[in-house]
Symmetry: C2
Amino acid sequence: MAYQSEITHSGKQFIGGERVAEGERTLVSLRAVDGQPTGYRFYQATINDAELAVKAAEAAHLAYSQISSDKRAAFLEQIATEIDALGDEFIHLVMEETALPEARVLGERARTSGQMRLFAQLLRRGDYHAARIDTALPDRKPLPRPDLRQCKIAVGPVAVFGASNFPLAFSTAGGDTASALAAGCPVVVKAHGSHMGTAEFIAQAIEKAAKKQHMPVGVFNMIYGSKIGADLVQHPAIQAVGFTGSLQGGRALFDLATRRPQPIPVFAEMSSINPVIVMPQALVVRGDKIAQELVSSFTSSVGQLCTKPGVIIGIRSTAFSQFIAQLVHHVEQCSAQTMLNYGTLKSYQEGITALESHPEIKRIGGQMKSQTQADAQLFQADISLLINQDPLFQEEVFGPVSLVVEARDESELYRALQGLQGQLTVTLIGEKTEIAQADALSQLVMRKAGRLLINGYPTGVEVCDSMVHGGPYPATTDARGTSVGTLAIERFLRPVCLQNYPQELLPETLKDSNPMKLLRLVNGVYTRDPL
Amino acid sequence: MAYQSEITHSGKQFIGGERVAEGERTLVSLRAVDGQPTGYRFYQATINDAELAVKAAEAAHLAYSQISSDKRAAFLEQIATEIDALGDEFIHLVMEETALPEARVLGERARTSGQMRLFAQLLRRGDYHAARIDTALPDRKPLPRPDLRQCKIAVGPVAVFGASNFPLAFSTAGGDTASALAAGCPVVVKAHGSHMGTAEFIAQAIEKAAKKQHMPVGVFNMIYGSKIGADLVQHPAIQAVGFTGSLQGGRALFDLATRRPQPIPVFAEMSSINPVIVMPQALVVRGDKIAQELVSSFTSSVGQLCTKPGVIIGIRSTAFSQFIAQLVHHVEQCSAQTMLNYGTLKSYQEGITALESHPEIKRIGGQMKSQTQADAQLFQADISLLINQDPLFQEEVFGPVSLVVEARDESELYRALQGLQGQLTVTLIGEKTEIAQADALSQLVMRKAGRLLINGYPTGVEVCDSMVHGGPYPATTDARGTSVGTLAIERFLRPVCLQNYPQELLPETLKDSNPMKLLRLVNGVYTRDPL
């Protein structure tokens, strides 16, 4: 709360450490609950604003990318401190703009600052440098080997597009920003239109941290506006893009980025139906418990989670029929909830209408009662839709709904799983003995997803070294990346090889003396020893 | 030579361990020296052949990707043995098809088999698994942490397009094939049209190795033909592409791959002019030696090397003028040489014509004497062309030619370097004291290239852990990759996270007992200890 009074609302762009605005103040922050203005208003960024923001980032790049890991770590920790210090006015505004309850907002803030601190730890650990050294072999025949050393460097300015459903953890200071800043890349954030006030508070916290830690001006920039994203992605100085959102939005940015004269990588986390496979014995032993937990998983946060279980698959049996009845029962207990904004509610209603009008899908639980909130619902789909890759199974319906699919037998289940598109997660729920025999099943679904779970629920994504929040298309545009966890930094780094460099020109990471005490691959052996 | 008699010429496709052909036998292998037939003829692959080849690779994927690292290593080593055992008929054919001299062919073969053995070592070292473990924290508040483990898995079938200039090391069994097979990905090679006979010998060596080491049928496939590449890249089962060749060819494949319903990564190594910056003191001390070495570097292998120094930049001085005269002198000593094929010669002649007709470029050494061979040549270009990013500086002229550029002063040199497109290499040549002060220069060029050299020549790419043969566009389509060295394997791997997996379902890499004795990141600390 200490800094509360220093936070000011101007509604302007954040460019090179200044608040500037060239366009009109036409963007209105709205309350999620009723679509009425919160009182915060923002300037639409012009093409020139976007250009200035990218140029500020580009101007900061050389200096920022060369700042020591320790100093970058201190900057990330300062951001965490500033975000944690934001007061009641901020929490209240996030709640107003998103309809997320206070506990969730506080939890998500802790996750966001915790994420900054985890990347600070990664910077101090230093393994992201991936230092490799092959020393010279001047006497080798037929040709001598020169001295060759490799490390990773920052790719350059990164454009970040946040998500509506995590206004803190996947937005202005979310995982993309944290990993780009950790990598040594300045960022230009396109503020999300459904929580512009939240974004302004967070951006000010970052600016404050940058100033306190003497970071180069322009290390962080943020612009407001609709239709300005394409200009950002197409600017020649932008070298990578982080995005979390819809399949349509992510693919559009990917298409723009890959059609540039110089194509750049886009890490878009987009669409996943997160299948959950319930195995026969588990249904017999604890069907009702699973049903209750699954309904809780797909309706929590109003089903507005990337990892929401959107399809529940099992093999025909008495226990499975009973399980479906239990799912229906628990769905019927749910109350309608307010979604993130009017657009999200409208998309949910349209998604439900599409399910309702599909001849091979029937509603089996819940119904659309409220016009202004989202009611939990359950549908059942014929398995042929999965097997034949019906487009309905490609894009998630964002909201508290899931589809039940029944396979006649194991072989039909396999065929259905083979038809799956790329996913963020696939989950198996089973008893110990059936899981122990599920090796082939596990191998099959491993090709389909970035994260495989056994006896858990995919909602709740741990921020840690081992997390993969990614997966084959359409879950993301690049299965080699993750947008959660420390591996996310690799998206914004590229390797470089220095040949015959004298000690004084080598970066600290590659000097003979190994001043950072890094674990390095030296002539094929991992060691922390100096050369 | 032992297997010599087992090599047979049929000219058919290699699909799923069989030689098959559906199309016409219309593809004729030609001698580089005079464009006359070598006697080897090949079948044009049909769309159906391409489909069958990809399906064979896809069918092999699950089995091949799960074969232990040790067995995959033995397979790669067997390939090396079989390639080393190819006899005189093979060496003679490579020389016929490419006009490369015997010593170079023997050297390149040793490089190719050596590369296979290096990837076998990498497989045994096991660090490519990148194993990470975060153990469960059941008592953590407010939420427990599940057990999370991460490793890398093969992406799936890879399409490989070899280069004309390295018929062994960058072709059928070159770096792309070696790294894809090491990663656990089956491959489908599109045989290069200018060394189809060479490709057939090598493919048979790979097939023999696959059989001897009991690899799944379909782990390796190769098809012949023009215009069949697009079908390969667009096949839904292909998951990544490796390519070495022209900017136009690489970009075309990239565009096809990124416009697929499911976009896939393309690692195309394409075009680089590999600037060499000669510093003032070095020119005074050893100008003539540098001139001699540089001419040798850009004319060796008839200038048909991706890392050929295509631009030589210095600051105006008496020594630089003298150095230019020395360059001219050494160029005039060169004899005409036979290029890889008629198409390459024609491109070289066209490239020279473009230089000749450019108003701000003048020829200063050598001339087009031969109609059938390539003469070494030297041009001088106005520095404004570099500063203004003239398209002439974007694509290399493949052949024994280089451009000299003179900067008025250091500031103009910097402006010229800022205008550089992405490069495979940038080289600085200087005396100890001027190099020691070149930190800013080194930082500037590091943004432009994958490899930076000091006092060396970029031709000659070491195959080792620290090599980066890659760089920003247009050097490649993905600066995060390298096509030479062990890091190349990462292009064909993606991370996966296993949550709450029981020991019996975990891969060896992630089991508590650490049976492979891997160095793993466990709860933030690197260790080879079991859990």
